[in-house]
């Protein structure tokens, strides 16, 4: 058992330069190794800021964040965190092969070792990309490209994988496939997952613990504790009217649909 939580956030406050209000106000939570945390909240609720702070891209000025007992910048340098961005904004006209894209984080970190090469091959196999390894990145479909991006996020064998709005723009079937892919990754690679989304379905189906964030932490616990009133508090309007019922979600909370309309 690891002596430290995977993520420990204590009394975190954050305010951007020249802003008058805190974007995050006194946030505290922890995530144990191999847990699946879903961070749910409306647009502008501070999810992206929290994500940037966890990735060490913004300085923590008040409060504390520790990743396996170390500061986020150290964790990023050591490759403890993998990251899947919200949108694929890559220059697909770049003359790069699938293999070269997946290997990028390893090469940026330093000279690849034989273990890195072995891991790269296993990633290609795991994501069914071996036959596409030498294909140019512009020749891939949207689904293949997303698999490449997840493989790239896992290239340095991170212990934590952070996914930013991973199912935006994906249909229900695609979301289900994505959820099962995440589950198998979670099992096979012993990953701690942090899924940031405003889509309730993604969070409920993909997480063992949920954090509802709208500047402050409104809820932190298992999906069974999440009530409609908490969601209404977070999203600041009546959610039951716009969320369709779904058998796969807690029956008393009626939160199986998605809140993409927010």
């Amino acid at each position: 058992m690891h002596p430290h939580p995977a993520i420990q956030v204590d009394h975190l406050r954050f305010r951007y330069d020249k802003a008058t209000d805190d974007v995050l106000d006194d946030i505290s939570f922890s995530v144990e190794p191999r847990e699946k945390l879903g961070v749910l909240g409306p647009n502008g609720g501070g999810k992206s800021t929290l994500l940037k702070l966890l990735l060490g891209l913004l300085p923590v000025s008040r409060g504390q964040i520790l990743i396996f007992g170390k500061p986020p910048q150290y964790a990023r340098r050591e490759g403890l965190i993998g990251y899947l961005p919200q949108k694929i904004e890559a220059e697909l006209s770049a003359p790069l092969s699938v293999r070269q894209v997946i290997a990028m984080p390893i090469k940026v970190a330093g000279q690849p070792t034989p273990e890195d090469d072995q891991h790269l091959r296993s990633m290609l196999d795991l994501f069914e990309l071996s036959s596409l390894a030498d294909k140019p990145i512009c020749a891939l479909s949207g689904g293949q490209l997303q698999r490449v991006m997840i493989a790239r996020a896992l290239a340095r064998r991170p212990k934590i994988l952070i996914l930013d709005e991973p199912t935006v723009g994906i249909d229900i079937r695609g979301q289900q496939q994505f959820a099962s892919l995440l589950n198998s990754l979670h099992e096979s690679l012993n990953l701690t997952l942090v899924i940031v989304s405003h889509e309730l379905r993604t969070i409920v189906t993909g997480s063992t613990r949920i954090a509802c964030l709208a500047r402050t932490m409104h809820f932190h616990g298992s999906a069974s504790g999440l009530t409609t009133s908490i969601l209404e508090q977070v999203f600041r309007h009546d959610v039951s009217g716009i969320i369709p019922a779904d058998d796969s979600t807690p029956p008393d909370h009626n939160c199986g649909g998605c809140c993409a309309d927010h």
Binding site: L55, E89, A90, E91, A94, P95, L96, S97, M104, P105
Partner: protein, 302 residues
């Protein structure tokens, strides 16, 4: 053939060999950077930087540096490089920090620098007229290049630039590639995107300065755009793209230079047109394919 005569006649060779070698080095420089410029859509920034270099030329002329002495050449190159770097970083700063769109930022920097250049050029002309000093080099040669201005100093400058560009790109290749491919996600993987952008813009400014005498401030961008555009039309693999970019640039430089010697035209524009023609030629197979498909369609229906 005039080309053979130019390169073998002892009286002419001392002038034409530096021109040929400098052109080849510039071609390699352009080919090495060009595919990055095209993929990262920096063509307009390159245009902005090269036009802005005119402001630096204007300052050098007013200060009185001429291309006659080694010191004057060095001082001019330093001022133009400094001005180009300032323009490149100014564009980056305006685009990022002040939330201006990058095309707006380029438009602002380009027009201000060009206007400065023209005013300073006029000032240098009147200073030269009043002091009976030789007039500054022609406006046309600044804008469109003139091989008569190229000498051994320019060859040395181009070789130094080549060493800097190749060494920098090689040492930072993984970071530059990551930045080029996915600037939005790169910071999460430890790539400092602002630094990589500045490095590439600085290299761009250096190539522009070296290219100016050959192609002028107006055409300097062409050697930074066309070879990469040609290469990316023909391949989507990294090594072939790099090779095609450099080879097409060198081939067009040689062909353009020979054409210029034989047809007695300006080498800079002739090389640019040769590159343009090669780029056009890369579309021929697709056009041919389309016309074949179009002509076979009615017969297959019937």
């Amino acid at each position: 053939m005039r080309t053979i005569e130019y390169l073998t006649d002892p009286a002419l060779a001392s002038f034409f060999w530096p021109v040929l070698l400098t052109t080849l080095v510039i071609a390699i420089l352009g080919g090495s950077m060009s595919w990055i410029v095209v993929v990262k859509r920096l063509s307009f920034i390159g245009q902005g930087v090269s036009h802005s270099a005119f402001g630096g030329v204007g300052i050098a002329l007013v200060v009185g540096f001429t291309s006659g002495s080694l010191l004057g050449e060095l001082a001019t190159a330093t001022i133009v490089l400094a001005f180009s770097l300032l323009a490149a970083f100014g564009i980056a700063l305006l685009s990022g920090r002040l939330s201006a769109r990058s095309d707006t930022a380029i438009g602002i920097v380009l027009s201000v620098a060009m206007a400065t250049g023209f005013l300073l050029y006029s000032l240098a002309e009147s200073i030269a007229a009043q002091s009976s000093a030789p007039p500054p080099q022609s406006l046309e040669s600044i804008l469109f290049g003139s091989v008569t201005q190229i000498d051994t100093f320019d060859l040395i400058l181009a070789l130094c630039a080549l060493a800097i560009v190749i060494a920098t790109l090689w040492m930072r290749r993984h970071r530059v590639l990551f930045w080029m491919f996915d600037e939005a996600a790169a910071p999460a993987f430890g790539v400092q995107v602002t630094r990589e952008r500045m490095v590439v813009l600085a290299l761009l400014a250096l190539v522009v300065v070296v290219t100016m005498k050959l192609a002028g401030v107006v055409l300097a961008t062409a050697v930074l755009v066309l070879p990469g555009a040609i290469a990316l039309r023909l391949s989507q693999q990294l090594r072939p793209v790099l090779c095609i970019s450099v080879l097409s640039s060198v081939a067009c430089a040689i062909i353009g230079l020979i054409l210029a010697f034989e047809l007695d035209t300006q080498p800079g524009p002739t090389i640019v047109l040769t590159l343009g023609a090669l780029f056009g030629a890369t579309w021929l197979p697709r056009l041919q394919h389309r016309s074949t498909t179009a002509s076979s369609a009615p017969s297959s229906q019937s």
